[in-house]
Symmetry: C2
Subunit: 152 residues, 2 copies
DNA sequence: CTTGTAGTTGAAGTCAACTTCAAGTCAAGC
DNA sequence: GCTTGACTTGAAGTTGACTTCAACTACAAG
């Protein structure tokens, strides 16, 4: 589309759905990389789109940018990541999603009994204290997965 | 436990699991109410614990404080809320949880096929674009329920 | 009455994940 | 070569839900 096959920031913004400001932010945070023209404008290689797709997907799963960065850092340095590389990164999400679904399901089922009783007891109600645990705010047993958790 | 049956801020903090600072914040925001001693210290009625239980539960379901406030505002002014009042408030969460669970399940199932293909295509992959919709950032079709959504 | 713990306030800080702004520079079509 | 729109930067602002701080006051046990 351009003299070379490099993409401008607005190309990438349009194709990835991320705002240009987000792209710059991600670059500052080390999540994506861009080369520069002689005039200091960003030029992206096409593979950045896959990286951005990964980032969006990871955010949907509930990963923080920090976690995403850590995951991306495990990609091989020298070569272009293969399909298998991406698959490896995605596979761990399955677990995370299972956990999230299980937590919400438990919450919902707790709600069913809660509607029956109308109690909202702090110590007993599955909705406000879903794991049947007396609120112990230690770092240990968090009921909801991080993205859903309200810690205090 | 005290001369009257009124609770101090630390009583409530301990029993509800909310930090005193959160309790003061909730009071400023109009979510809970406290009377004052002659020396201007807060004294809570016991029913505040139920209100706080509701707040915690609502937060777990993914409601914002603003939504919680709106829900609490529908409670009757004059009388102490009945079991039926709380039940009515809780009932609407069932839907919300169902939506959240459905969204996550769809995401997970999308992941299964995604692991198979390793594509992470922006336009096609269920993980980064789970509703099979070209990213249209209008206010309309949001894939995930609000608490899970990453809007851009 | 003294002492120490618990409580009070408004203002400011925190965190994540960006967005917005101002002031200026680059690239491309005519 | 000129104009116009795209791009650059660092700094500051945004949002939600609180937490932290400093400076001060209240309450209850001894």
């Amino acid at each position: 589309m351009r003299p070379t096959d490099l993409l401008t920031v607005s190309d990438v913004a349009e194709r990835s759905g991320f705002a240009p400001s987000a792209l710059r932010f991600y670059e500052r945070e080390g999540l994506v990389h861009a080369t520069r023209t002689s005039g200091n404008q960003r030029r992206y290689e096409r593979n950045v789109l896959r990286r951005l797709a990964f980032i969006r997907a990871a955010r949907n799963v509930g990963l923080s940018l920090e976690e995403v960065a850590a995951a991306l850092a495990t990609l091989p340095e020298g070569r272009t990541p293969t399909r298998a590389d991406w698959t490896r990164l995605s596979r761990s999400w399955r677990h995370r999603l299972d956990d999230q679904i299980a937590a919400l399901t438990k919450l919902r089922d707790g709600l069913d009994s809660c509607i029956g009783c109308g109690c909202l007891s702090l110590k007993k109600c599955a909705m406000s204290n879903p794991a049947d645990v007396v609120a112990d705010r230690g770092p240990g047993a968090a009921f909801l997965p991080a993205p859903l958790r309200r810690s205090s």
